[in-house]
């Protein structure tokens, strides 16, 4: 058993929601814990770009902003090709608990496959480089 589609974590933080919200939704906040550098265009449809020392980076697309309680974005699934359309959805929920905040993060969509994913997994992509290269051969033959 164990192909997780969904990851869920909850942490209790001894800080008010406004501080936690700032850590999640501002460039300086994100750069302090998530990555080494961050750029954020805080609006639905806006993007977040995280960069880590040594080169790796991630681009997120903001999907949900309900200050100060919900912040959601989608991002690329690690390891899949850059142009693969599959993305996971990450949602942070901030609930006040006394003077602090209960922060829940849920990331879901790891097990998603497109409609034809099952068939494709077995049939293989006879497309990709093979077909691109044969297109090139045809093109060169025709000229």
């Amino acid at each position: 058993m164990g192909f997780p589609d969904r990851i869920e974590r909850t942490v209790e933080l001894a800080h008010p929601r406004a501080s936690v919200w700032a850590a999640l939704t501002t460039a300086e906040g994100l750069a302090g814990w998530f990555g080494n550098e961050a750029q954020i265009d805080l609006r639905v449809g806006g993007s977040v770009r995280m960069t880590w020392t040594g080169g790796p980076s991630a681009d997120m697309r903001i999907e949900r902003i309900e200050e100060p309680s919900v912040f959601g974005f989608t991002w690329h699934i690690y390891g899949l090709p850059e142009d693969d359309p599959r993305r996971t959805y990450v949602e942070f929920t901030l609930e006040p608990v006394g003077k602090g905040t209960r922060l829940t993060v849920v990331e879901s969509g790891f097990a998603q496959l497109p409609e034809d994913g099952y068939r494709k997994a077995f049939d293989g992509n006879t497309e990709g480089w093979a077909s691109e290269l044969s297109d090139l051969v045809e093109y060169l033959n025709a000229t």
Binding site: V11, S19, T88, V105, F110, F122, G124, T126, A130
Partner: protein
Amino acid sequence: MPPDIEAIAEQVFVALADPTRRGILAALASGGPATATDLAERLPITRQAIAKHLALLAEVGLVTAEPGERRRVRYRLNSGPMQVAQQFLASLARDWDDRLDALTRQLERPRAVRP
């Protein structure tokens, strides 16, 4: 039939657990489609052993057999099952525990450090 992605991922991991099969897949990835004979020339194993491993890889769907020149069967890398396995690996690699620890530490930091 619902897609049993975990079963596909498991087959990929079993296939990749063997160094010879990893060598075959790496050779196909770097050099493109090849026959068992081609692979035997490039790898330090017999053609018979390669044929046996190719059969297993074809069963898992990691390689596809196709007609090659002079009636020889050529094998082509098929990335579909690999992408399914990657989705599984991605869920393990997300590492929210470390990130949330870092967030907690960040919030604990003295105010003076933060602009």
